[in-house]
Symmetry: C2
Subunit: 301 residues, 2 copies
């Protein structure tokens, strides 16, 4: 699985840090989290085709997180897309998309499914599910939890040979989780020939949020926490006032979530470099990074 940090800025875009968008690429599909102005050009820079995007998750309706969406959908339409696209976001996302596409007379001919969501599992597939909960921000805002399906245990052919599991079709039943009976009359259960499954990767994208005590009750053992780190500690009053987080607060959340890695995003354009954020966060949670625009993380599990 690859995580592309397309835009790591917040509020006002700069040439170094454009507006929020994260593309998670799993096999042929792309899940897009937030879609600030300019996302479609960042996708081009990352050589990711919009046609591969199947689901778009918008954390909230502040312009910096959503103003790239109408243009992206229009481009999909102009490229003659036929595959459906689902958009998920807080209340208001439907009006936003519908009014924009109507006023700009975009000719959308693919199925566009817009879902106003609040909490719980919002998207469930064979290979992953996405859950959301309320973030702690000054407008209705969501934090998303992406849970990849469990990784199946390893199949041990030598054990199957010893137990007399023939022909091949019986092994397939075991892999599907079914107990079988061998031609010799022996009952074999999957756990006799298959190792334990391992939990799939968990990625959390907080969107804009002040520290949110709820989050740790929803998810632990996070493989990658992508957290609002708008401010450095010197501006922690501003973080509290506007319901954003400092990099240090993001790191504290990473500790609570027993995260393996922390990515600091939504850095305010007032900071020329992210060094201060990185220093302050690593003191609390060492495995922290501050991705640059277009940086890609290969998440192996």
């Amino acid at each position: 699985m690859k995580v592309y940090f397309l835009g790591v800025g917040g509020g006002i875009p700069s040439l170094d840090r454009t507006l929020p968008a994260i593309a998670i690429v799993h096999k042929r599909h792309i899940l897009l989290f937030d879609c600030g102005e300019g996302t479609q050009l960042q996708l081009q820079r990352a050589k990711l085709s919009p046609q591969r995007i199947t689901q778009i998750f918008i954390s909230h309706l502040h312009g910096d997180h959503v103003l790239g969406l109408p243009g992206l959908l229009s481009t999909m339409a102009m490229q003659k897309r036929v595959k459906p696209v689902s958009v998920f976001g807080p209340t208001g996302i439907r009006e936003f998309v519908e009014v924009m596409l109507n006023l700009t007379q975009a000719q959308i001919e693919f199925d566009l499914n817009i879902n106003e969501v609040e909490k719980g599992i919002i998207s469930q597939h064979e290979e992953y599910k996405v859950e959301c909960l309320s973030a702690n921000h000054n407008v209705p805002a969501l934090t998303f939890i992406l849970r990849m399906a469990d990784i199946p245990g390893r199949f041990y052919p030598a054990k199957a040979d010893k137990l007399g599991v023939f022909p091949q079709s019986l092994r397939k039943e075991l892999v599907k989780g079914q107990a079988i009976v061998t031609p010799e009359g022996r009952r074999v259960t999957p756990d006799e020939v298959i190792g334990p499954s391992r939990p799939g990767a968990i990625i959390v994208y907080t969107g804009d949020t002040a520290p949110n005590p709820d989050l740790a009750t929803h998810v632990k053992n996070v493989d990658l926490l992508i957290h609002d780190a708008t401010f450095a500690e010197m501006h922690k009053e501003k973080a509290a006032e506007f319901l954003h987080s400092t990099a240090r607060q993001a790191a504290q959340t990473a500790v609570q979530l027993e995260a393996k890695q922390l990515a600091l995003v939504h850095i305010s354009p007032r900071y020329a470099s992210s060094e201060m954020h990185l220093n302050e966060a690593t003191q609390v949670f060492p495995n922290t990074f501050a991705p640059k625009d277009l940086e890609m993380l290969h998440l192996r599990k």
Copy 2:
């Protein structure tokens, strides 16, 4: 006067040609014509502050011409702008701006004057006026004519000396266009000491349009014609179908308008280079150029 071609593409942005936006810089003010997605970043690349923009002219509501406007206005607000901004566009522009700013909860604290216009003089200042007329496109669309004020004639001090125009204050009256009487009792009119004024520069920005016979009845002697040249001749049927122009048609219009210079813009992303457009246009109207993104033209008059 400087003309910045911020984005010279059309429809879908590419890394070489972003979406339509032209900034005309006159003294401290910037007039912005169209505002495609990404315009605010292009302004940064051109080192033009959004705070200097006083008027924004939107040719029509197709997404590629207008989807950068909400983000630009939001950025002005976040930068604590206090100076008013006027926006001009066809019917629908008010709903577009108001709905977008409401849904994204932008906190606009400066005066934002939105004007739905159709034809005639829409903005009049001491130094310029802007006129519009209907373009020939598949949605309500405008072509804009920017007419700079006449350039005052030269004052000849030697002639004033000879006519006995003293003191200095009498000369100021003449410069303002008033006849005066010298201390010696001689009546002097401005044309005796001041050369003829010359017409100011005229810039026409067509927006998206098929060839429009109306245009030549509204304006001639154009200093700079910025014309839709979405297609090359090989796709002239497409140009007709979607009510765009070919580069050659743009050149024919330049001839009709007795233009001095022609800029080809809104080039479709299907063309990797603009060479074909340029070849086809220059055969009809030699003084043609196809600006690249961020190219600046210093218009002297």
